[in-house]
C-alpha cells in the first residue's frame, strides 16, 4: 500500500512539520479566542512567544557549535543556562513556579524556564554536535505552553499514521480526561489555600497535589499523544507516580523530563565525587532553585531530599513499611509548602494552633464546592487508589496508563468527558507551563 503524504513527510521533515502544525494550530486557537472575546491584542504576543524561544535556541546552539567555548566552558555554560532561571526569579524578572502563578509576566520570557532547561541539557549532553534541528522541539510552543521538557525527542520513521493514531489517540483521551474533567473540576477547591491554618493547609496540600498531577500529567499526555500522532516521540513525562510504595518510586513517575535533566546535570557528577546522599540533596535543592529562589521552595527541596535520603537508608535496611509510611505525608506537606504563596503565609500556617473552628471552616469550604468539584475529587482519589492498589497487576505494572487505554475504560472516559466537562469552574491553565 502506498504511503500517505504524511507518512512520507515525517522522516524527512518531522521536527519541522510538527513545529509548523503546532504553531498554525496555536495561532488558529488564539485567533478564534480573540474573535470570541473581541480582543485582538493577544495575537502579536503569540508571535513573540514563538520567535523568542526559537531565537534563543538558535543562538545557544550556534555558540556551542562554533567551537568558541572549550569543553569545560561548554559544561559550565550548561549550568549557567540552567541557573539563569533562578537568577531571573531572584531579581524579580520572572515569577516563581508554584503551580498557581501560571502566566509569564513578561512575554519576552515566555516559557523561558522550559526552553532554558532543555538547552542546558542539550549543551551538556551534545556540546559541539548539537543540531540546529533541535530548535524545532526545544522552542515548540506546544511544549512551552504545557511544561514537559524537550529532551530525548526522536522521529518515528517506522510507524504509519494509522499505527500512530491507533497507539497514541487513547493517550490523548486519557490526557483530556485528566486535564479537563479532573483538573478543571478541582480548580475551585484550591481556594481553600486562603484559610491560613494547618487544617486547611493540609487539605490544600492534598487537593493541590491531585490538581498538579491531573493538570500537568494530563497536558503531558496530550503533548505525548499529539507529538506521537505527528510522528515525533517525546518522553512520557508522568508514569503513574502513585503506583509507588515509597518516595523513590514516586519520583520514578513524576515529571520525568525534569528528573532526567537533573540526573545528568547534578545527580551523576555529584554522586561520583561525594556519594549518593550529597547528590540527592544537591539535586533537590537545584530543582527547588529552578522553581524559584524562595525559602518555601528551599524547604520543599530540602524536605523531599531528606525524605529521599531517609527512604534509601530505610530500604537498604529492608524497612519497606517505614519507607511507605513517610511517603504520603511528605508528598502532601511538601505540596502545601510548594503552593503556599509566601514564607510569611507559611509561618502564619505553622504558627496558628489548629482549632475545631478551623476544621469546621475547612469542612464548610469543602461542602461549598460545586458538584463537579466533588465528582472530580472523588475520581482523582479513585485514580490514585487504583494506581497504588493494583500497581502489580499486568495493566498497571508497566506504569504507562495501560489500564486507562483499554477499550472499556476508554468508553468510560469518553462518557465522563461528555457528562462532567464544564468551563464555568476552574481555569484552563497549565499549572507548570508558560513561565
Amino acid at each position: 500500500m502506498a504511503k500517505s503524504l504524511v507518512d512520507r513527510a515525517v522522516p524527512r521533515f518531522g521536527f519541522v512539520a510538527q513545529f509548523v502544525v503546532v504553531v498554525l494550530a496555536g495561532f488558529t486557537l488564539t485567533a478564534l479566542t480573540a474573535i470570541s472575546n473581541r480582543n485582538s491584542s493577544t495575537l502579536w504576543i503569540d508571535v513573540v512567544h514563538v520567535v523568542m524561544p526559537a531565537l534563543a535556541s538558535v543562538l545557544v546552539i550556534g555558540l556551542v557549535r562554533s567551537g568558541v567555548l572549550p569543553p569545560l566552558a561548554t559544561r559550565a555554560f550548561a549550568y549557567v543556562i540552567f541557573f539563569s532561571v533562578a537568577a531571573l526569579t531572584a531579581t524579580g524578572f520572572m515569577s516563581v513556579m508554584n503551580g498557581l502563578a501560571v502566566s509569564s509576566p513578561n512575554p519576552f520570557l515566555y516559557g523561558y524556564s522550559f526552553y532554558s532547561a532543555s538547552l542546558a541539557y542539550l549543551v551538556l549532553m551534545e556540546g559541539r554536535s548539537a543540531s540546529f534541528v533541535r530548535t524545532f522541539d526545544i522552542a515548540n510552543p506546544l511544549m512551552l505552553a504545557t511544561g514537559p521538557l524537550a529532551i530525548s525527542v526522536a522521529s518515528m520513521r517506522h510507524w504509519s499514521i494509522r499505527g500512530r493514531l491507533h497507539y497514541f489517540f487513547p493517550f490523548f483521551l486519557v490526557g483530556v480526561f485528566f486535564f479537563i474533567v479532573l483538573g478543571l473540576g478541582l480548580g475551585p477547591a484550591l481556594a481553600i489555600k486562603e484559610q491560613l491554618n494547618l487544617v486547611s493547609g493540609l487539605v490544600f496540600g492534598f487537593v493541590f497535589e491531585l490538581f498538579i498531577y491531573v493538570n500537568f500529567a494530563g497536558l503531558s499526555l496530550i503533548v505525548y499523544a499529539v507529538a506521537g500522532i505527528l510522528g515525533i516521540r517525546v518522553p512520557l513525562n508522568f508514569k503513574q507516580p502513585f503506583s509507588a510504595s515509597n518516595i523513590l518510586d514516586f519520583w520514578k513517575g513524576w515529571h520525568l523530563s525534569l528528573s532526567s535533566l537533573l540526573k545528568e546535570l547534578f545527580y551523576k557528577p555529584i554522586r561520583a565525587r561525594w556519594g549518593t546522599y550529597a547528590a540527592v540533596m544537591v539535586t533537590y535543592l537545584a530543582s527547588a532553585s529552578w522553581h524559584g529562589m524562595t525559602l518555601n521552595f528551599a524547604i520543599w527541596g530540602f524536605l523531599h531530599g531528606a525524605v529521599f535520603v531517609v527512604s534509601i537508608a530505610l530500604l537498604k535496611r529492608k524497612h519497606t513499611i517505614w519507607a511507605f509510611i513517610i511517603f504520603p505525608p511528605t508528598v502532601v506537606i511538601a505540596r502545601m509548602i510548594f503552593g503556599t504563596p509566601s514564607f510569611d503565609s507559611l509561618i502564619a500556617i505553622v504558627n496558628h494552633v489548629p482549632t475545631l473552628e478551623d476544621a469546621k471552616l475547612a469542612a464548610l469550604a469543602v461542602f461549598d464546592w460545586p458538584t463537579e468539584t466533588h465528582i472530580a475529587l472523588a475520581l482523582s482519589i479513585a485514580l490514585v487508589v487504583v494506581e497504588f492498589a493494583f500497581r502489580r497487576t499486568p495493566l498497571l505494572i508497566g506504569r504507562n496508563y495501560k489500564f486507562l487505554r483499554v477499550r472499556v475504560t476508554q468508553i468510560v472516559l469518553m462518557a465522563a468527558i461528555v457528562l462532567f466537562t464544564t468551563g464555568r469552574i476552574g481555569d484552563v491553565i497549565a499549572a507548570y507551563g508558560q513561565r
Binding site: L32, T33, S36, N37, R38, N39, F169, L173, I180, L184, A191, I192, E194, Q195, L196, S345, A348, L361, L364, A365, D368, P370, T371, E372, I375, R407, Q410, I411, M414, I417, V418, L419, F420, T421, T422, G423, R424, I425, V428
Partner: protein, 317 residues
Amino acid sequence: MVKDKYVWLVALFVASYIAWVAVSGFLASATMFSGSIHDQKVTRMQGISSVDSLIVGGSNAVYSLSAERLSELSGETWFNGALPREGFTRENMAAFVDDFINSVDADNVSTVLISSNRHWHVDRRDSSAEPESTPQPQSKQELGFDGIRDSPFWLPSKSLWDFVSGPPAKVFPTIISGQGDLLHDATDLCRPNLRSVPTEWGTDRDIDVLLETWLPLVHSRFPDAAIVITIPSRYTADPVDPAASGDYLERLQSKIEAWIGAQPDSDGIQVSTVLETNYDDPSLLCTTGPHYNATGRLLRTDALYEKLIEIGVKNGR
C-alpha cells in the same frame, strides 16, 4: 468502510461533545443570574438613543445605585451598566462596554461613574469567613449563582451531569429596567453576597489592580468623558476612621495622578474621587447581603448625587 468500533465510538464521542457545547451555550445565558443581567442590560441599552452619563462597576452598583433616580435628579439620561462580579472578567467587561458603545452614541457620554468595591483589601485569612448575621447559604446554585465566569468557546458552559441531575435552572424574568437598574421587586434577588464585608482599606497593590482594571478601559472607550471613581456607600455599625480613609484617598489620588501623567493625552483627562456616606441602618440592606435594598439604593443615590455636585462634576438642576 471503517470496521473498527473504536473509531465509531470516538466519532460518537466527538459529535456528542460538540453538540453539548453548542446546546449548553444557548441554555447558559438564559439560566444564569449573571448572564441574564448581562443580556438584559445589552437589550435595554439598545432601546436608548443617547446616554449622557454611565455607571460601570460591580454588584454594589447593580443593587445599590439607580440610574433612573440620577436621571430624575440631574435631568440627564443615565444608564446603569454595572455587572455582577464586575463583568466576570476584564475581557467580558470590555466586550460589554463595546456593546454599549455600539448601541448608543458614545460621544455624548460626558460622565462615567466607576463604582467598585475593590477599594477594600480582601484579607486572605478572612476571605472565607461568613458574617455572623448571614445565614449559611444552602448552596450557591440555589441562589442562581451558577455562572460566575465565561467558558472558553470550546468548553460547555454547564456540565451535562449538572443539567440532568442538578436543581432546575432558574430562568430569570425581566429583572433589569429600561435604564439598567435592577428591579428589586421582580423576584427574590436581594441576597447576592455570601461573604463578610472587608473593612481594611486597600493596599497600594489593590489600588493598582483597581485602576488597571478600570481606567484604561473607560478612558479608551470614552476619551472625552469625565471619570468619577466613587468609593461605594456601605452598611457599617462602626464609624469610618477619618485618618484611615484620608490616607487611602491620598494614596488613591496620587496613583490616579501618576496614571494620568503617563497618558499621552494627560491634559484632557479628568478623574475625580468621591467617598460616599455610610449608613448603620440594617433595614436598608438586602436580607442576607451587604448591598442595599430599594430603600437603601434611593438613599445612597441621592447622597451620591449631592457629592457629585460638591466636587463640580454635576451642576444640579
